[in-house]
Point group: D2
Chain length 260, copies 4
């Protein structure tokens, strides 16, 4: 069986600019995430970053990606709109997308969900406990009823998202908040999973439960149907399934493509 | 009781440039739609168009709009991105949105749904029969099991949309296709209704059933909860609901706002 | 404007049999809930109980009920199946339904949702904090970002429900759990709201925030469309919208009703 | 790779009692469906029927079933409630369920969806054309934009179902109606697919497209996560994730199980 191809997109700014973060993630957050996925024999993972040409997300890279993981924070605005549209298109064609932590405010996520994606937050190194809402979901395979992360940033409700297709995790925070920490949506042929943990100040992506969730999520998000290359075809009158004849005036000439 | 304020946005291009369309809609498609809504004593309707400053959608106009109706076709690309974002924001705050016919390809609709919004089409003046999928839905109030439009453009499946919250209408076309002609979604606090009929070549917006649906839809889409002005507030450590103390290093200085 | 008619169904067992609960709710839990609703000038509320003929839910009572509230716990099994089916039918016709606390295991709720409706629980008088997930939802109108109940039973995830249409509240518990405490679904023409708080050992239904939520919820759940009396009509060949002729053998004789 | 185990449940009444139907399906409708699935090397299929002890759906049979297909029509009322509950439980544990044609009125389907599941109908041997709403869905793999069945019973909207998670097919009927012919839902860990065609008067289950859809659907509905054996565990005070102490009076004694 061929491997599932994951691409981890990393902003790679904090890790270069902030000393204490570089010590946590010497290979970058993206590098740590990709290494975690590579532990699984059925997955392969490459990482690309913001500063690369086309942010590392060329047509070729995306065409060969089954599942894209996205970590960004302070440089959302630097991501070119053309690349964002390219990612959106590939998700609609069937590429899976896993949006991580502060990626909730990425252009890609906001564009796909259509909402504000806002939340409340606090950086206090407090305890987070993630509860499994659906123990039978493949993304939760191998987990117990909950798992804890000793130190994390808090994200709290209200989370500005459309109602998820499936609620996988909800977090309990030491400081008193709750958050919908794992949720799924579909856009076109593409599956989307948002996963909350992963603040750059803490070694979250080394956590074994977090790594397990990401492996599960990549398997879940991999395309399971045919790739649907979108189009908006005109069906000429003489190609209608039922025999009809043209009636009245028309705006479009025969064979003309529609407005987009 | 105060009236519900509807604003009808019209592209107003075909009506000015194409003789046979101008004859159908001498006051513009937008004008015809607004006049239809004004028949109801609980609704008020104004219309604005693409060529106006800020496309007629100033902050003031949007702030005073309960429900926005959108008709566009050949000039989707001419709508400025800043205005699109303004509309998206107002929908998320609670303004209702009714997207009409070829508006399926408008920036606003694609941005809110996150999908391709594509479909198949044919301009043959064929018969369309719209079936009511949920006779108890307020948008269908007063209709029979179905209604017909003698001449319409055909739109066919697959329609590139996320699964609707509610399916209100499905169309049967003389030429053999079907289409999800009435469907709803929510984005933030805003309700969205897509309604298929309304090709510029036919007098669809004079049809009594179409007018009834639009009146019903404006009432349904009007805000029913408090307006939610979005933010992403930082909750300082000493304002946490439960007493906690800061642990470990932090990236953000106290009082700093987050990255967007 | 005529009032919305709410009927509060109470099991009325703990209140009669357990001394310390009787002291909390001398008029019954149902009586306390109904009194809370009656505070609002646009609502009227009556209460009925298990021990009444037909459990107080005659055809007449249900026909005149806009929204039914349901509180049960130790006697779910004593509710007759015929009455359950009657309630289900009325919900599908458009009657709103608000299921309270331990009503998660009522026949009515399980029958409408189709899932186990199970959860984890602990009776320790611990603090519950309910966070508002959607501040713009009418059920949350007038609330702050969260409200607290000093002593409540804990309900924890996983909650065995289908993905809600809307998530209104999520609870944080002192003992470390979380729960989807307010959620909505639709069945037929009827709106359903589940609201978690309300253990019989505590004076929860006297809480001003809880009373506000119930008032809001009754308004939200009231029917907004025409009542849909269900049927499965045969459409005879000569009544088809398009002219067709009978082809081949048939099982059903003309005019026969279908199997149910 | 081990095969996916499908069990086809057939009512087996029309095939025994009606001469012209017996000629179409000499091995029963269930036998024809099972034979179609067996064409695929990754699927195994057995069939069971109403008249067998426990309707052929013993605990053992269901425990070994990955996906259950259900065809019933005139004898829905003869299915014992205890067996219905057993099937519901297994679906919630993760068994896939494919409900066929007149199975829309089966106890199993109505119990899982919570709605009336009613529709309009006509037995005229008319043409049905099924359009694919989502070409990228695995259930539609290998199909063109649509497929036709020369003679079928008509089912028309309104179809009394909750909003589907995914709309796979919509039918166009020669007589002028439309219908949501393929749709999915989830209940607990189990996936549900409703597929419309299959009236007993016509040889629908020999159709190559219908057979392809059923093979695809069995693969799609097979469990993909861990089996979730439901429970409602009490979490004692001293087992709470966070240290708490009992406050106030309690109804349940330590170790007591809750009410169901």
């Amino acid at each position: 069986m061929s491997k599932i191809h994951a691409t981890v997109w990393g902003e790679n700014v904090h890790e270069r600019k902030v000393e204490f973060i570089r010590k946590i993630y010497p290979a970058g957050i993206h590098g740590c995430i990709a290494a975690g996925l590579e532990e699984a024999s059925d997955l392969s993972a490459a990482s690309v970053t913001l500063e690369q040409p086309e942010h590392g997300l060329t047509e070729e890279v995306l065409a060969g990606t089954d599942v894209l993981l996205w970590w960004g924070h302070c440089a959302h605005g630097d991501v070119q709109d053309a690349i964002v549209e390219r990612v959106i298109k590939r998700v609609n064609e069937g590429m899976g997308l896993i949006v991580l932590h502060s990626g909730h405010y990425s252009k890609v996520f906001k564009r796909l969900l259509g909402t504000t994606c806002s939340l409340t937050w606090r950086e206090a190194g407090e305890k987070e406990r993630l509860w499994v809402c659906n123990p039978s979901h493949p993304i939760a395979a191998g987990l117990g009823p909950y798992f804890e992360i000793a130190q994390e940033e808090m994200y709290g409700e209200p989370f500005g998202i459309p109602a998820p297709d499936e609620q996988i995790f909800i977090s309990w925070f030491e400081g008193g908040e709750v958050f919908r920490s794992g949720a799924t949506w579909k856009r076109g042929a593409g599956k989307i999973f948002y996963f909350r943990p992963g603040h750059e100040s803490y070694p979250t992506y080394y956590d074994s439960n977090v790594k397990l969730v990401l492996k599960n999520a990549v398997r879940w998000a991999a395309p399971e149907g045919p790739r649907w290359i979108d189009s908006a075809p005109n069906i000429p009158v003489d190609k209608a399934p039922e025999k009809i004849e043209l009636k009245g005036e028309v705006l479009h000439k025969p064979g003309e493509s529609g407005f987009k």
